[in-house]
Protein backbone atom coordinates (compact mmCIF):
# COMPACT_ATOMS: atom_id res chain seq x y z
CA UNK A 1 0.00 0.00 0.00
CA UNK A 2 1.08 3.57 -0.74
CA UNK A 3 0.18 6.44 1.60
CA UNK A 4 -0.88 9.75 0.08
CA UNK A 5 -0.69 12.76 2.41
CA UNK A 6 -1.97 16.27 1.86
CA UNK A 7 0.11 19.10 3.28
CA UNK A 8 -0.60 22.64 4.45
CA UNK A 9 -4.04 24.02 3.68
CA UNK A 10 -5.46 20.92 2.00
CA UNK A 11 -7.92 19.74 4.59
CA UNK A 12 -7.93 16.07 3.75
CA UNK A 13 -7.01 12.97 5.74
CA UNK A 14 -4.25 10.73 4.32
CA UNK A 15 -5.27 7.97 1.90
CA UNK A 16 -3.84 4.51 1.47
CA UNK A 17 -3.97 3.27 -2.11
CA UNK A 18 -3.03 0.10 -3.95
CA UNK A 19 -1.05 1.73 -6.79
CA UNK A 20 2.19 1.17 -8.67
CA UNK A 21 2.94 4.60 -10.15
CA UNK A 22 2.10 8.27 -9.73
CA UNK A 23 -0.08 7.95 -12.79
CA UNK A 24 -2.31 5.62 -10.76
CA UNK A 25 -2.43 8.22 -7.97
CA UNK A 26 -3.47 10.91 -10.46
CA UNK A 27 -6.18 8.59 -11.74
CA UNK A 28 -7.42 7.89 -8.21
CA UNK A 29 -7.60 11.60 -7.33
CA UNK A 30 -9.07 13.02 -10.52
CA UNK A 31 -12.64 12.22 -9.58
CA UNK A 32 -12.25 13.50 -6.04
CA UNK A 33 -14.15 16.79 -5.96
CA UNK A 34 -12.24 17.95 -2.85
CA UNK A 35 -9.03 17.79 -4.88
CA UNK A 36 -10.15 19.57 -8.04
CA UNK A 37 -8.74 22.93 -6.93
CA UNK A 38 -5.36 21.44 -5.93
CA UNK A 39 -4.18 18.97 -8.58
CA UNK A 40 -3.01 21.63 -11.04
CA UNK A 41 -0.98 23.59 -8.51
CA UNK A 42 0.46 20.97 -6.16
CA UNK A 43 4.03 19.77 -6.30
CA UNK A 44 4.50 16.08 -5.57
CA UNK A 45 7.11 14.35 -3.44
CA UNK A 46 7.79 10.64 -3.09
CA UNK A 47 9.43 9.75 0.22
CA UNK A 48 10.19 13.46 0.74
CA UNK A 49 11.93 14.01 -2.62
CA UNK A 50 10.19 16.18 -5.22
CA UNK A 51 9.43 14.35 -8.47
CA UNK A 52 8.67 15.65 -11.96
CA UNK A 53 6.91 12.85 -13.79
CA UNK A 54 3.83 10.68 -13.48
CA UNK A 55 5.95 7.76 -14.63
CA UNK A 56 7.53 7.63 -11.18
CA UNK A 57 7.10 4.08 -9.92
CA UNK A 58 5.79 3.37 -6.44
CA UNK A 59 6.27 0.40 -4.18
CA UNK A 60 4.70 -0.89 -1.02
CA UNK A 61 5.37 1.48 1.88
CA UNK A 62 6.09 4.56 -0.23
CA UNK A 63 4.78 7.95 0.88
CA UNK A 64 3.43 10.43 -1.65
CA UNK A 65 3.04 14.04 -0.45
CA UNK A 66 1.10 16.80 -2.15
CA UNK A 67 2.51 20.30 -1.59
CA UNK A 68 0.19 23.18 -2.45
CA UNK A 69 1.48 26.70 -3.31
CA UNK A 70 3.85 28.03 -0.66
CA UNK A 71 4.51 31.36 1.03
CA UNK A 72 7.09 31.34 3.78
CA UNK A 73 8.60 34.31 5.53
Amino acid sequence: MVTVEFLGPIQKAPLTLEVSSLRDVAEALKNDSEMAQWLENCAVAVNDTLVATLDTLLKDGDKVSLLPPVCGG
Binding site: L7, G8, A43, L54, C71
Partner: protein, 148 residues
Protein backbone atom coordinates in the same frame (compact mmCIF):
# COMPACT_ATOMS: atom_id res chain seq x y z
CA UNK B 1 20.28 23.15 10.00
CA UNK B 2 17.06 25.12 9.98
CA UNK B 3 15.90 26.38 13.39
CA UNK B 4 12.13 26.08 13.84
CA UNK B 5 10.28 27.73 16.71
CA UNK B 6 6.71 27.64 17.91
CA UNK B 7 5.43 31.23 17.65
CA UNK B 8 7.42 34.42 17.13
CA UNK B 9 11.20 34.42 16.86
CA UNK B 10 13.40 35.92 19.57
CA UNK B 11 15.31 38.04 17.07
CA UNK B 12 17.97 39.58 19.35
CA UNK B 13 18.84 36.17 20.81
CA UNK B 14 19.13 34.48 17.41
CA UNK B 15 21.15 37.08 15.55
CA UNK B 16 23.46 37.63 18.53
CA UNK B 17 24.02 33.89 18.97
CA UNK B 18 24.72 33.41 15.25
CA UNK B 19 27.21 36.29 15.39
CA UNK B 20 29.00 34.65 18.32
CA UNK B 21 28.96 31.18 16.71
CA UNK B 22 30.80 32.45 13.63
CA UNK B 23 33.04 35.01 15.32
CA UNK B 24 36.19 32.89 15.04
CA UNK B 25 35.79 31.86 11.38
CA UNK B 26 37.27 34.94 9.74
CA UNK B 27 34.10 35.96 7.90
CA UNK B 28 34.21 39.58 6.84
CA UNK B 29 30.49 39.92 6.22
CA UNK B 30 27.33 38.88 8.10
CA UNK B 31 24.02 39.85 6.50
CA UNK B 32 20.81 38.91 8.30
CA UNK B 33 17.41 39.35 6.67
CA UNK B 34 14.61 39.62 9.23
CA UNK B 35 11.00 39.18 8.18
CA UNK B 36 8.45 40.93 10.40
CA UNK B 37 4.65 40.67 10.23
CA UNK B 38 3.14 43.94 9.05
CA UNK B 39 -0.16 45.38 10.11
CA UNK B 40 -2.35 45.34 6.98
CA UNK B 41 -5.81 44.26 5.88
CA UNK B 42 -6.88 44.22 9.54
CA UNK B 43 -5.02 41.00 10.27
CA UNK B 44 -4.16 40.13 13.85
CA UNK B 45 -1.14 38.16 12.67
CA UNK B 46 0.02 35.33 10.45
CA UNK B 47 0.22 31.62 11.05
CA UNK B 48 2.51 29.04 9.43
CA UNK B 49 2.60 25.34 8.67
CA UNK B 50 6.05 23.91 7.92
CA UNK B 51 6.93 20.60 6.31
CA UNK B 52 10.31 19.95 7.87
CA UNK B 53 11.73 17.00 5.83
CA UNK B 54 11.65 18.85 2.50
CA UNK B 55 12.56 22.19 4.09
CA UNK B 56 15.69 20.57 5.50
CA UNK B 57 16.77 19.04 2.20
CA UNK B 58 16.10 22.33 0.39
CA UNK B 59 18.22 24.18 2.94
CA UNK B 60 21.01 21.58 2.83
CA UNK B 61 21.25 21.97 -0.95
CA UNK B 62 21.65 25.74 -0.48
CA UNK B 63 24.30 25.20 2.17
CA UNK B 64 26.34 23.16 -0.33
CA UNK B 65 26.12 26.06 -2.81
CA UNK B 66 27.18 28.51 -0.11
CA UNK B 67 30.12 26.39 1.00
CA UNK B 68 31.39 26.24 -2.58
CA UNK B 69 31.76 30.04 -2.34
CA UNK B 70 33.33 29.96 1.10
CA UNK B 71 30.07 31.18 2.68
CA UNK B 72 27.63 29.83 5.27
CA UNK B 73 23.86 30.17 5.57
CA UNK B 74 21.65 30.16 8.64
CA UNK B 75 17.89 30.25 8.87
CA UNK B 76 15.17 30.38 11.50
CA UNK B 77 11.40 30.24 10.97
CA UNK B 78 8.23 30.17 13.02
CA UNK B 79 5.53 27.57 13.21
CA UNK B 80 2.02 28.49 14.30
CA UNK B 81 0.89 32.00 15.14
CA UNK B 82 2.99 35.17 14.90
CA UNK B 83 1.30 38.47 15.71
CA UNK B 84 1.74 41.80 13.93
CA UNK B 85 5.08 43.48 14.63
CA UNK B 86 6.60 40.16 15.63
CA UNK B 87 9.09 38.31 13.40
CA UNK B 88 8.67 34.92 11.74
CA UNK B 89 11.74 34.56 9.55
CA UNK B 90 15.47 35.18 9.70
CA UNK B 91 17.91 34.21 6.97
CA UNK B 92 21.57 35.07 7.23
CA UNK B 93 24.70 34.63 5.22
CA UNK B 94 28.28 34.80 6.39
CA UNK B 95 31.05 35.15 3.83
CA UNK B 96 34.67 36.26 3.62
CA UNK B 97 33.78 39.31 1.49
CA UNK B 98 30.65 41.40 1.05
CA UNK B 99 29.85 40.70 -2.62
CA UNK B 100 29.17 37.00 -2.18
CA UNK B 101 27.03 37.71 0.88
CA UNK B 102 25.01 40.48 -0.78
CA UNK B 103 24.25 38.37 -3.84
CA UNK B 104 23.55 35.19 -1.92
CA UNK B 105 21.10 36.71 0.55
CA UNK B 106 18.96 37.94 -2.32
CA UNK B 107 19.02 34.65 -4.22
CA UNK B 108 18.43 32.63 -1.07
CA UNK B 109 15.47 34.68 0.17
CA UNK B 110 13.85 34.74 -3.29
CA UNK B 111 14.20 30.97 -3.71
CA UNK B 112 12.92 30.52 -0.17
CA UNK B 113 9.74 32.40 -1.09
CA UNK B 114 9.27 30.28 -4.22
CA UNK B 115 10.31 26.85 -2.98
CA UNK B 116 10.37 26.34 0.77
CA UNK B 117 7.48 24.11 1.93
CA UNK B 118 5.85 26.60 4.27
CA UNK B 119 2.21 27.69 4.15
CA UNK B 120 0.98 31.04 5.37
CA UNK B 121 -2.41 31.91 6.84
CA UNK B 122 -3.92 35.25 7.81
CA UNK B 123 -5.30 35.47 11.33
CA UNK B 124 -8.42 37.56 11.00
CA UNK B 125 -11.61 37.73 13.06
CA UNK B 126 -10.64 34.57 14.89
CA UNK B 127 -10.17 32.60 11.65
CA UNK B 128 -7.04 31.10 10.06
CA UNK B 129 -7.29 31.79 6.32
CA UNK B 130 -4.85 30.33 3.75
CA UNK B 131 -3.04 33.17 1.94
CA UNK B 132 -3.71 31.62 -1.45
CA UNK B 133 -3.30 34.85 -3.45
CA UNK B 134 0.20 35.43 -2.06
CA UNK B 135 1.34 31.84 -2.51
CA UNK B 136 3.48 30.42 -5.31
CA UNK B 137 3.26 26.97 -6.86
CA UNK B 138 6.56 25.11 -6.44
CA UNK B 139 8.50 24.63 -9.71
CA UNK B 140 7.26 21.49 -11.43
CA UNK B 141 3.85 21.59 -9.71
CA UNK B 142 0.74 20.28 -11.41
CA UNK B 143 1.78 16.87 -12.69
CA UNK B 144 -1.23 15.21 -11.04
CA UNK B 145 -3.46 17.61 -12.94
CA UNK B 146 -1.84 16.83 -16.27
CA UNK B 147 0.97 19.41 -16.40
CA UNK B 148 4.09 17.55 -17.44
Amino acid sequence: MVELYNGALNVPEIITRWYAEEAEYNYGAYIPFIGTVREEDEIEGLSFDVYEPILSSWFDAWQVKAEALGAKLKMAHSRGDVLVHESSYIAAVFSPKRRVALEMIEQFVEDFKASAPIWKYDLKNGERLYARDRSTAIAGAGILGGKQ
